[in-house]
């Protein structure tokens, strides 16, 4: 019950902060007016101890006891300022989010840049009761944290409100700020369970599709250079390893097929999209070229990850307002 109350209060406060500071751009510097600070339960315990010491000192009139009491009271105040300063001036960037399938958590990448001359210790991101981090960010360095957000439906998922917080030093105080940053993650439809084979489409022009390019046979990855075409980047591998790789192919012929919305008349909209997503993945796994035909849009026959992404994006955004 207490937790529920805290959450309600926290949400109200965040909404108030949003009205106060407005939505944030993709790069935010944490200024003084948007940083909040409150004692933690340890802070309250510490404060209670200092208060008890004050009573004891008054009772015994012991000068050294007064000195310690006041030293600790000052220490608490100084720690509060250091805690605040630990966040002050941090730059927060939205560093993208790779597409995920509905049901998988969307990982929003938040980069924290420390442009100060001192280390920022124990910086963490909190979202919906989850803590990411804490990380230490050395002077002049950055740290990227991935905020997991559960997904249920396909389409664009906006970056929800999150908090950047620190309890350093001493965990007596928690300084935090709410960030309402624009940023979004594409959520593909969750693919249907595998099993249903891909129907071979009838080529209306009487010819079989030609191999889209001479590069349909995947042989491996190599580190990417800036001059490489983005269509051949191994984006999935990037999501796993953080390193941008280029896919290398050797030429091989492939019979293309077009995955058609109309071939699944018995299913509802979402089920159809799920099945089409499954087929897209199956075809890509077989390294076959394929196209996608939806009532509103058509993706021409093609191959490779970029093509797969285009197809899944078309499915994700089918009949969606954006």
């Amino acid at each position: 019950m207490l937790a529920a109350l805290t959450e309600t209060l926290s949400n109200r406060a965040a909404a108030w902060a949003l009205r106060r500071q407005g939505r944030d751009s993709r790069l935010v510097t944490l200024e003084r007016r948007r940083l909040y600070i409150l004692p933690t339960r340890f802070g309250f315990a510490f404060g209670f101890a200092v208060f008890a010491m004050l009573l004891g000192s008054l009772q015994y009139g012991a000068s050294l006891a007064f000195a310690l009491t006041f030293l600790l009271a000052s220490l608490g105040l100084v720690i509060m300022h250091h805690c605040h300063n630990n966040l002050l001036g941090t730059q927060v960037r939205f560093a993208g989010a790779l597409p995920v399938f509905a049901g998988q958590p969307a990982m929003f990448r938040i980069a924290l840049d420390n442009t100060a001359t001192a280390v920022r210790y124990d910086v963490e991101i909190e979202h919906e009761g989850n803590c990411v981090g804490p990380v230490d960010i050395a002077a002049g360095h950055s740290a990227t944290l991935e905020v997991p957000v559960p997904t249920a439906a396909r389409g664009w998922l906006g970056l929800p409100r999150f908090a950047i917080a620190t309890r350093y030093p001493g965990s007596l105080f928690r300084a935090w700020t709410w960030v309402h940053m624009s940023g979004r993650c594409l959520v593909y439809p969750a693919p249907a369970p595998p099993g249903r084979p891909i129907p071979m489409s009838v080529d209306t022009h009487g010819t079989r599709g030609m191999p889209a390019e001479d590069d349909s046979d995947f042989v491996g990855l190599r580190p990417a250079a800036d001059t490489d075409p983005p269509g051949r980047m191994a984006w999935k591998a990037y999501a796993r390893t953080d390193q941008l790789m280029l896919k290398q192919f050797s030429g091989a012929a492939e019979v293309p097929s077009t995955l058609d919305w109309d071939s699944l008349p018995e299913l509802g909209v979402e089920a159809r999209l799920a099945q089409l997503a499954r087929w897209c993945l199956d075809a890509a796994a077989d390294r076959r070229n394929f196209g996608l035909k939806l009532p509103t849009t058509t993706v021409p026959v093609g191959g490779g990850d970029q093509h797969l992404h285009a197809c899944l994006e078309a499915l994700a955004l089918f009949e969606s307002p954006q």
């Binding site: 339960r41 340890f42 315990a45 510490f46 101890a49 008890a52 010491m53 009573l55 004891g56 000192s57 008054l58 009772q59 015994y60 009139g61 012991a62 000068s63 050294l64 006891a65 007064f66 000195a67 310690l68 009491t69 006041f70 030293l71 600790l72 009271a73 000052s74 220490l75 105040l77 100084v78 720690i79 300022h81 250091h82 300063n85 002050l88 001036g89 442009t115 100060a116 001359t117 001192a118 210790y121 124990d122 963490e124 909190e126 009761g129 989850n130 803590c131 804490p134 002077a139 002049g140 309890r167 350093y168 030093p169 001493g170 965990s171 007596l172 800036d226």
Partner: protein, 663 residues
Amino acid sequence: MSRPRYTIVPTDRLLWTAGVVTGASLPHWPKLPLWVPLLLGLCILWRLAAKLPRWPLPNRTLRILFAFGAFLGVLLEYGTINGVEAGSALLIVMVALKFLESHSQRDQIILVILAYFLVFASLLTERSIAVAVYLLAFVWITTAGLLQMGRHRTLLPSWPTAKLAARLLLQSVPIMLVLFLLFPRLPGPLWALPGNTSSGATGLSDTMSPGDITNLGLSDEIAFRVQFLTPPPRASELYWRGPVLSQFNGRTWFRRPGMGRQVINTLEVTGEPTEYRVMLEPNGRNWLFALDMPQSWTPIGRRNVIMNSDHQLQAFGLPPALNRIDYGVTSYTTYTAKEPLTPADQQWYTQLPEGSNPRTRALASSWLADDPTPETVIERALDVFRGPDFFYTLTPPALGMHSADEFIFETHEGFCEHYASALAIMLRAAGLPTRVVTGYQGGELNGFGDYYIVRQMDAHAWTEVWLGDRGWVRIDPVSAVAPERIAFGSLRSSAREVLGLRGLSRLPWMRQALLLWDAVNVRWNEWVIGYGPQLQRSLLQYLGLESAGWRSLLTLAVVGTVALLVTLTVYLGWTSHRHRRGDRAARSFARFARKLEAARVRPPLQGEGPQAYARHAAVELPRAAGEIAAIVGSYLAARYEPDADGAALADLEHRVAQFRVAT
């Protein structure tokens, strides 16, 4: 909020908390029953041993039993859980049990806060510089422990943490000083103290039993210090008056009951007054010592000091002195203490229990037959002690029922109590109203601080006899046997020789060093320990704020604190100001890169340093190569080198603004 929790406490965290609680409890150990530190050590070792495989922690039932047993132990040991001593013991027991079951960050932070509390508990009673320095150093280590335990994951290296803790504490010191000086100090406690004053009572007692050997005279402990504002009297006049004993039951002297009342001061004084200030060590009593004979004195805070009918100064309404107190007195060493004694009083002061010390009484009665003049009687009584058999010793044999008889006729060995008691019995037997005065005699001059130190070993007892018009006259029988004890206060050295004690302090340089150390202590006691309502008022007077009440004081303390916190904010902002300059440099460089991009130079690659990028740009734009190199040079200087006056940054911004690529 779900936070990452560690199920297994890392050993380094346990070691940190173990060190912090052990060190914080260390100053308590000498005052604790042995089992309390043993319990703490056992709990710490057990908790650490539980890191080993197959060494279980006690289960819940056992822990509850432990807690209950320890609580009961403290209760039995002290009979209470109130008061500093029992409270500290209980606190340490709690810390030990908490340590045993510590398994989360929460437990460890609580332990660190308890360690602060242990330090605090020591400071309630400890006053010495050495302990204060130790505890202050320990607050530093405890603070480092707090920083470490506040970490969520791995601990930081110890030395940088210690440095940060020192920085935090140093930044706290100014605020602490403001609060220390200005926070309103109240005279007296908030509520009545639990009555465990007997443990605080040291020094003189209010009874005297010659024949029961005491070692009071041997303690080096300081009773009080005296600073003379007028020329000090001769050593033989330094009689510091304490409790007066006038009731005798045959073995023991007691104070006269109901003598707390104040009587009309019948003192007649002649000669020069002696003004001085006494800094009395805590003794758990409300007795104030003053030079024979005090004539006027200052109150202590708002408490009145009165002289009772024994001519002894007492502070009424003051709790038994657990703290040092400080008072000024004016005394006259030449005086006549007249007091009209009623017949009842005369009977009181000549009372002797039936049948006690028959031989002494018979001896005194025989003098009356010869010559009943009091002066003659006194002279003959003192003559007894001047006999060759009598000598002064601190290790006399124990005496039986008729202590004066045995002392005068058999053992002939004794110290001040034996002489004073025997003389009083003789004079009373001769019908002269007599009483025993206890107190201190002499004192040691500390040349470093220009004050006298009176120690427990200077404790003394003498007699006063009432001689009608001449009032109460001091007669010190010890001056008959050991006049040097009175003239030079040389008992100190003879006592040491007798017992072979304090060999070291007889070395002259050692003696000097000890005196210097005592002088430092006096300053410490006077200005730090003694900082209370009185000194605070003097400070405010000095600042011209004598009319400030406690409300304005509190306001002043808060305003001072806020001002210092604002200063701290500015300071913290200023130390991170350099990064803004770095930001400006980065922005300037980004602008430069955009200008280059407009000239079809590709933007810097990910991970490409400014120098590599500049080389690339210089190849693309050979005509601007010189300016590109200059801009990169200023950028590096502004960003990565100490650029106190911002010259490099200004140069960078200027060059970027002026930069043009000729097309």
